[in-house]
Symmetry: C2
Subunit: 362 residues, 2 copies
């Protein structure tokens, strides 16, 4: 009997409703595998935790996460106005999400930007731009850069308010994420797009130096250097040229969301946040407060994050594949959640129904 402890951090907004689908799916996977047991441990996280306990990442949640084999996170955050009701440093992003990333040093964020040809109608891009589908793995450094550098606010000698915040990296941080990039490229098409801004940022100069130092150890991988701004252009014009893209934290934040844009919805963006000992899994999208509680959110990103967890934390590769196929098959039957369903012939389904159909496919 193999038993896995999973911390469930449903979070805010649509978090709980998409998490419900993840739980359904986990139970279905368990049912298919009599020798596997998932111990599911829900815990408070995000704004909901702040309002209940005064902390958006309470100690009890930390304990549950510490004891877990993997962490499954929903979504956190409030809308712009409601956010202001929480002190800046307890707002769920600064008070919960970033501390979660730091606690487990989940430096390697895998964000697959994936759309098989059959689903290319979901994309806002023309069919001839998409060609055989989109299949990019964005690898984003997740615990460094501007996100975690020292921040200083104050008033200068002229009486002006100012802010200074530091983008910082050391060579170990850079090397660790680049290795993940190279190794992922080796497993895929052996081309690594290195995204940088070395014509302005000194951090990119060091980054590119480490790329050059590592490259000889991966002679089978071709490195292509591309400026972050050019990458933003080309992701729209010709996404097919990219396979594995590696980049620092903030660039990864922006380009991966652009990735969601070219897929047709952030609802199609699961992700894995991998640390040396523990990993957590989350949809790349936000908590979408405007549609929360309406049962219309697309749970694909959440369920896809379960698939990534099965593969990467539990080594259950074939179960992971089953799950991807089940989701693809639901879409292939013409079903779509409201973020995706366009045109008359779309069979509109809600959050729960999507979860049910995936479970039925399994």
């Amino acid at each position: 009997m193999q038993s896995y402890k999973i911390a469930l951090l449903a979070g805010d907004g649509i978090g709980p409703e998409v998490m419900k689908q993840a739980v359904k799916v986990l139970k279905a996977v368990e049912a298919r595998n009599p020798d596997v047991n998932f111990e599911l441990n829900p815990a408070l996280f995000g704004a909901v935790a702040y309002f209940e306990t005064g902390k958006s990442f309470p100690q009890e949640t930390k304990d549950i996460c510490d004891q877990a084999d993997a962490i499954l996170k929903g979504t956190i955050g409030l809308n712009h106005e409601d956010s202001q009701k929480i002190p800046v440093d307890e707002q769920p992003e600064r008070g919960a999400l970033l501390p979660l990333r730091r606690r487990y040093n989940t430096y390697a964020n895998f964000r697959p930007v994936y759309l098989p040809k059959e689903l290319s109608h979901f994309s806002p891009l023309k069919a001839e731009i998409i060609g055989d589908g989109i299949d990019i793995m964005i690898i984003r450094e997740l615990v460094g850069g501007l996100y975690f550098g020292h921040k200083e606010t104050g008033v200068d000698e002229q009486g002006r308010r100012f802010v200074r915040e530091v983008l910082e990296y050391d060579e170990d941080q850079i090397r660790n994420i680049l290795k993940v990039g190279f190794e992922t490229a080796q497993k895929r098409k052996k081309v690594l797009h290195n995204i940088h801004k070395s014509n302005v940022l000194k951090s990119s100069v060091l980054w590119n130096t480490i790329v050059d130092e590592l490259a000889p150890s991966y002679p089978d991988v071709e490195v292509k250097h591309i400026l972050v701004d050019a990458a933003a252009t080309l992701l729209c014009l010709n996404p097919g040229q990219f396979d594995v893209m590696v980049m620092e934290n903030m660039f990864g934040d922006i380009l991966s969301d652009q990735g969601g844009g070219i897929l047709g919805s952030l609802g199609l963006m699961p992700s894995a946040c991998v640390g040396p000992e523990k990993s957590y899994y989350e949809p790349s999208h936000g908590s979408a407060p405007d549609i929360a509680g309406k049962n219309i959110a697309n749970p694909y990103s959440m369920i896809g994050s379960v698939a990534l967890m099965l593969e990467m934390s539990f080594g259950m590769e074939s179960e992971s594949k089953h799950l991807w196929n089940a989701m693809k098959s639901v879409f292939a039957q013409g079903y779509g959640t409201p973020d995706l369903a366009k045109g008359d012939d779309a069979k509109l389904i809600d959050t729960d129904k999507f979860g049910d159909l995936v479970v039925a496919e399994l």
Copy 2:
């Protein structure tokens, strides 16, 4: 007789060949306006200047720019490999472009992301996404943030190389660019999209505070707050929702190039870099070393930058409109440069020919 001194900084790569078209156009405008005289003063700038004088922004060029009423810049920069042959601080971006921006404090960068419905076939986006065309004005802060903050490289106590670079803004810098945003919104659809990342960056927190402070002075403008990552998604999914977008330097670099992506080419992105006393004008694209000298670059961004200069530096609004219409008309006749022409029915033209046709239209 009205006389204007224009510094011409052709630069590297395709710079000289697109600048040639700008000069043709300026002569044609001059011919149409007997009371206007353009004094054109070419000067060395970029890698070409470095190799000739040892400086990428030589003193002589500074003098010519200082004396000019406006500066017209081509493109600068070499490919990734050739760049390495120049010491980091003399590379044309750090050694010429950023000093140019700083010298004239060109804090307000206008980047129109514009595609009339008739030209929407150039875009990689589906017709139903584009609707009535794309018409966004990106306003980017151009002399602050990470671009100009203090940078430190070194080796830490553990012997690791590190870099720290500072993203810094003071309230005056933020207020100045936001005012440009509000005023531009007032002249257009009275909606201002404020792009920020306040859930992570303290600079965005200050930025948004200033937005809130300024907003009451512009009661006719509706402010919409949007996270930079969400903006990257939505620029692909639904660009029609944006009219004026205002943002800090690095975000503007990335999102405006994404803007070029949704238009179908950076060749469709002219820009104005406006300072309190002097402004300069430049295409948003790079020097494209791979196609330099081949006479196939699209000079639209360069000629569009001339149109912006006529309007914004010389108050020649009707001449500026003529010029935009002339360019539109060339495209409307089915002509296209190689970056744009797609499909069999495209009448492919080269750089020179595009310039000639625009002049003929005038």
